[in-house]
């Protein structure tokens, strides 16, 4: 019994972290068609913000509140200075964002002296029910992810901003003709995606410790999630993320972890073969 509960909790907790990381990437990829290879480093910057607050002696949660704003500012500056030049050429955008990511990662590395540092979670320890123990901080992350997911959904489907974003995606020429400044909308979308990455990084830091490579393990699987979910819809990215996160966490319970790691990709590729448009895609409809 206890291991069944542990299994479901751990799969849910890991999927939540994963969804949180993919959310920002998915927003940028599906709303703007840009594959942001610096996403892992945006996550890292979020984590670094929390680490900075922590090392200055401020409460960790203040850092977590500040992280999305700090990373949003970085995202906005990068979009205005560099990324907006890439919109016409997605391949160049990949290389460009990869280069930006590399520069950010190595800068943080030299700031950290190449070392790893821990940040204590605002909620320490675990809830115990008999033999079952449930990590407090992971529970908090699951709840925050749910709130953020709902918030994003409402923002993109129920607000004026969301309407403009979708309009700019579906038909940029018509959107411009209707008086929407697509360049501003793109800047705002990119900033928003960066903020989500910052939040993900901030919440992850107590679980993974801060190091320059914090975002790297998530990047490739995040792209897999976006591909799996299908471009064009933001719900698709979440579904993809949940699936990739859940299989990554669940498979090692049954088979060798090294095999499981490969199998995640095999399963994803098989799904893409049978549903090339993605799990929940609106792209071709």
């Amino acid at each position: 019994m206890s291991s069944v509960v542990a299994f479901f909790f751990d799969v849910l907790a890991y999927s939540s972290i994963f969804v949180l990381v993919v959310l920002g990437l998915g927003v940028i990829a599906s709303m703007m068609g840009i594959f942001n290879f610096a996403h892992g480093e945006f996550v890292l910057l979020g984590g670094y913000t929390v680490y900075l607050f922590h090392s200055l002696g401020l409460p960790v949660w203040t850092g977590m509140v500040a992280a999305p704003f700090a990373v949003a500012m970085v995202g906005l500056v990068l979009e205005r200075v560099v990324i907006h030049r890439f919109y016409a050429t997605p391949i160049v955008a990949m290389l460009g964002t990869y280069a930006i990511g590399l520069a950010l990662r190595e800068s943080v590395r030299s700031l950290l002296g190449g070392q790893f540092y821990s940040v204590t979670a605002p909620l320490v320890g675990s809830f115990s029910f008999g033999e079952i123990s449930i990590s407090r901080w992971r529970t908090a992350v699951i709840l925050i992810t749910a709130v953020v997911m709902v918030g994003c959904y409402l923002l993109l489907t129920r607000t004026r901003f969301g309407l403009k974003v979708r309009a700019a995606l579906e038909n940029p020429a018509l959107a411009r003709a209707s008086g929407i400044s697509t360049s501003r909308v793109y800047a705002a979308t990119f900033t928003f995606g960066a903020a989500l990455a910052g939040l993900a990084g901030g919440l992850m830091v107590p679980i993974y410790a801060i190091s320059a490579d914090m975002g790297v393990p998530f990047l490739i699987k995040s792209f897999l999630a976006v591909m799996l979910g299908g471009m064009g819809g933001f719900e698709g990215a979440i579904a993809g993320a949940a699936l990739v996160g859940a299989t990554s966490a669940a498979l090692p319970w049954a088979i060798k972890p090294v095999v499981a790691d490969v199998l995640v990709f095999v399963i994803a590729i098989a799904i893409v073969k049978f549903r090339p448009e993605g799990l929940l895609s609106k792209w071709r409809s």
Partner: protein, 409 residues
Amino acid sequence: MTIDDRNHRPPSASRRLFLQRASLLSGMIALGGGSYLYNPKGVWAADPIKVGIATDLTGPISWGGIPNSQVAKMAIEQINASGGLIGRPIQMILEDTATNEQLAVTKVRKLVTQDKVDVVFGGITSSMRNAIKDTIVNRGKTLYIYPQLYEGKECMPFLFCTGPTPAQQCDTFIPWLIKNGGKKFYLPSADYVWPHVLNEYARKTIVKNGGEVIGEEYFPVDHNEYSAAVNKIMSSGVNVVFNTTIPPGVAAFFKQLNEAGFQKRGGRLACVYYDENALGITPAHEIEGLASCLDYFRAVNDPFGNQMQAQYAKLYGEKALFTAGSGSTGMYRGIKLWEAAVKEAKSVKREPVAVALDHAKISEGPGGGCEMVPGTRHVKMNMYTAVSKGGKYEIVEKSKGAVMPGECG
């Protein structure tokens, strides 16, 4: 200016731009990235001895490369300050291998062919050592000294290893773990060469001392979700988790293990690369009681080590500490043993230095003196077992004299 004017810019502008960019690019190529030259201070009559240091100053392994390069610089400056070596100063050429084996081969080729260094120190990971050793030793005809703790079995001539081997890290440590943890071991590991080969030795030692291995499991090196392993550990009554998973994933693993209550029920966590730098990876309470076995800890509190720590801290601060797990003690030991060998050989030529290095000995070092075991190109050294308490190590056991490396014999 009309729009037409803008579209018909004079051609010289773009030519100028082309020339600017071309000169910038060629300048960057000519200078190369990540090469640093440290000339000896003062005026010397003799030509300098050239020492090449090839290590990972950037990339994922820079946690080890940065303190490695710093301790090398400190040791070489000390030698220069005390009158140099056989009357000559030492010039240090530092190459950043950037945690990239292909790049590293180019870098060490530069060291041995262009700079013509007399000895190369460096490499942290075994894959790095394997990538660069042939270029240094066989094609470059240069002496190579590898400083990091590793899985053993490196018996190439002219390649000397100055870090601890599996025998040194297991022979005293595993009996201690059985006595202070229990008989049931679990071996969660990262899937690369060091954990595989180390576990082979650890398993033998566990069984020989009356313990048993409940599970041995390999994870992708960048794995960061360990719930399945934690569950197996918790449900199978494991007493000792002998960990070789690596950062950054190890932070998540230790946290999950702690939150599941492994330590609370009396479990013992063990990890043989864990040094003072690694203590920062997780909050102290999550690794309370973690045991490690290395050739040096600050807590050894020997006068020589303390003095080195003070000097190192004055030069480089408290960010990348001088520790054993980063290969920094191995680097210091390597440089001092090589110094002793050059003094005996009265030459920096490879063959006579190798002959002298084969039995070189230093009476002082962090954690005590050490000596090469003749014919093995490995070092006999003191080993210490330490336990983490409140974020600091306490020494719980010291080896009876120097421990044999058990390699290439």
